[in-house]
Point group: C2
Chain length 369, copies 2
């Protein structure tokens, strides 16, 4: 008879919740079993259990079987963090992902791609929303570091990430997504914002527009700056005076964008075409144009895709980013660093793609004010 059979969990429960009695094998089901419990039950030493659990060599098949049975019967789950305390590589097999908000299609796609890459390596992913708040960013990074994540992937909300320098020096891989780092040097994966914005602008110009408006996010967000620059540069190349092109910044949600659009058409010389530099802004613009019943005569190209954009009337023409590729590349970069890649910080630029669906192909029509 193996030691296993007569050590089955007894239905006996002590009165108090505490396990005060010192049974060699703790069969009371409420206590979380440790490696020692498994070892005693299997009649082997703890190190042997450790070998079996970690799939290390030099254990006889019979012993493996005994240990596995004991572990299963106790419903044993090893404590990853306890192991990491002593383990040579000290890896927690955990990643931290910081995004604008997990409740946002772009972030969701990045997250999913990161998760897929992580899953293949047995790595779990912490996610945290920052709402573009620099303080939340620092707090979240600290919270993850205390949990000893192996690496960080972040859409930064702060203007300067110098606070990450000590951690970077310790070798923790940090990959910036969507926005470039400032104050530190590290890998980043971003869309080609300037080129994408220029592409959108050129598209509108090629359809005959000369009076184009830019509606975008806060100017202190680098990504927004780049898109604005792409827009203005392209106007310049087309010989359109950039001075009087309406440029509205500081928009960060549907409502502010909607109101800004309404104001734009309430002023003199409204534009015949709009470039909206962010997906929530695009949606706000669409709402406003609908309200004004101008959605079929004001051209619109948005940066970043909009859910169900192909089902709207007109379809929303966008410069689409590839959030899934961004997430995948970021995760690959983190893992490459963890695998020892010491090459200089890389800056991966993911191309954007113009998706013509109707709104961007509308010809200019003089406002009937």
């Amino acid at each position: 008879m193996t030691p296993l059979s007569d050590a089955e969990p007894t239905p006996v429960e002590t009165a108090a919740g505490r396990t005060d009695e010192s049974l060699p094998v703790d069969a009371r089901s409420r206590a979380r079993p440790t490696m020692r419990h498994v070892a005693t039950l299997a009649g082997v030493g703890v190190k042997t259990v450790s070998r079996v659990i970690n799939g290390e060599p030099n254990v006889s098949a019979a012993t493996i079987e005994r240990v596995m049975r004991a572990a299963r019967s106790l419903d044993y789950e090893p404590d990853l963090h306890a192991g990491n305390l002593r383990r040579a590589d000290g890896r927690t097999r955990t990643l931290g992902l910081l995004v604008g908000s997990v409740d946002n299609p772009f972030a969701g796609a990045v997250h999913r791609a990161v998760e897929d890459a992580a899953l293949a390596r047995g790595v779990a992913v912490f996610a945290s929303s920052l709402d573009d708040d620099p303080e939340r960013e620092q707090a979240a990074v600290s919270a993850f570091l205390r949990r000893r994540v192996d690496g960080l992937i972040l859409t930064t909300a702060s203007e300067d990430q110098a606070y990450l320098a000590p951690e970077l020096r310790r070798g923790t891989p940090v990959v910036f997504v969507d926005r470039q780092p400032a104050g530190v040097t590290s890998d980043s994966v971003v869309s080609d914002n300037t080129a994408g914005a220029a592409l959108a602008t050129r598209h509108l110009i090629s359809h005959g527009h000369r009076r184009l408006a830019y509606l975008g996010d806060r100017h202190d967000i680098r990504t927004a700056q780049e898109r604005r620059r792409g827009f203005l540069d392209e106007l310049g190349r087309a010989g359109i005076a950039t001075g009087d092109a309406p440029v509205v910044e500081g928009l960060h949600d549907e409502e502010t964008a909607r109101l800004a659009t309404l104001a734009l058409f309430d002023a003199d010389e409204p534009p015949t075409a709009i470039f909206s530099a962010q997906n929530l802004v695009t949606i706000g613009v669409i709402r406003a144009l609908r309200e004004l019943d101008r959605h079929l005569d004001v051209a619109l190209v948005g940066f970043d895709d909009v859910p169900l954009g192909d089902l709207l009337v007109p379809g929303v023409t966008v410069v689409a980013q590839d959030p899934h590729a961004i997430g995948r590349l970021a995760a690959e970069r983190v893992f490459a660093r963890l695998d020892g890649d010491e090459s200089p910080a890389e800056r991966i630029i993911v191309p954007t793609r113009l998706v013509e669906r109707g709104s961007g192909e509308l010809p200019p029509r003089v406002s009937a004010r």
Copy 2:
């Protein structure tokens, strides 16, 4: 002079990466500082550092200041997991969230609500996508348990969650969201699927429809069963023969739903109204109706909201769930359990709400086949 000032990080680096030299205070910036390093640098014992870091009482203001300075100068971040090894409550201040896919509006909203509730308590959130795969569910639960999460919130993908029983017995709070548990008893937070489906169906019937079709998810998903039941029950109440109402199941994405809809209108006696029981199915149906140019004469009510549903033409009438409330309530339940709530498992039902936008109010029109 305090011990701090002459122990500033030296720019000297050893040749090898390894910290082989035994300096009492490790000033080499590459090594991760421990509480001991902070203690030595501040000239106090480790327990005092522990007290300061954890905000425990009985430390003089001067000592607190010294320790804080030392910790900051070393950029020290305490190791939460090492502490938990010995700590009485053993809480990792970490939660595991399992959903269909983090790349999904419903899951995103649940996630965000859980995160908000968790943030207020200093709890970090692991997220994992299951893709309705029972094996992924078990693997993800195990991965989280090994990382010793304090609680689990899950949209189950498996038919039976009996495998969770031992963990439940150990007192780990588990809250099911969106889908009820089977094989175990635990808290759950779900939408009122049957009532919501009945509401949608009644709405269509009240607009004169007698030939309604049901398009839904896999029949082995309880949620889908409940919605189907709500639909059929309501037909029965209205005296409509349920026998020949088209009921298409097993749809799980836009494409399968689109094809199923096309097939429906290719057959005899197509419906004048459709109830689609899931958001991706709703989108597939909309695409098909557009293709057939029937979107303005076939009524449609979807279960669960669709992004930008109000901007489509016609607007998409839906029975909206409240994913944010579901996530918030689930998190509150987990924290109540962690705070010692021992009351019987609760089943929280979140009401749904009919949102009329046009597609559900279309009158029946005989097919011009």
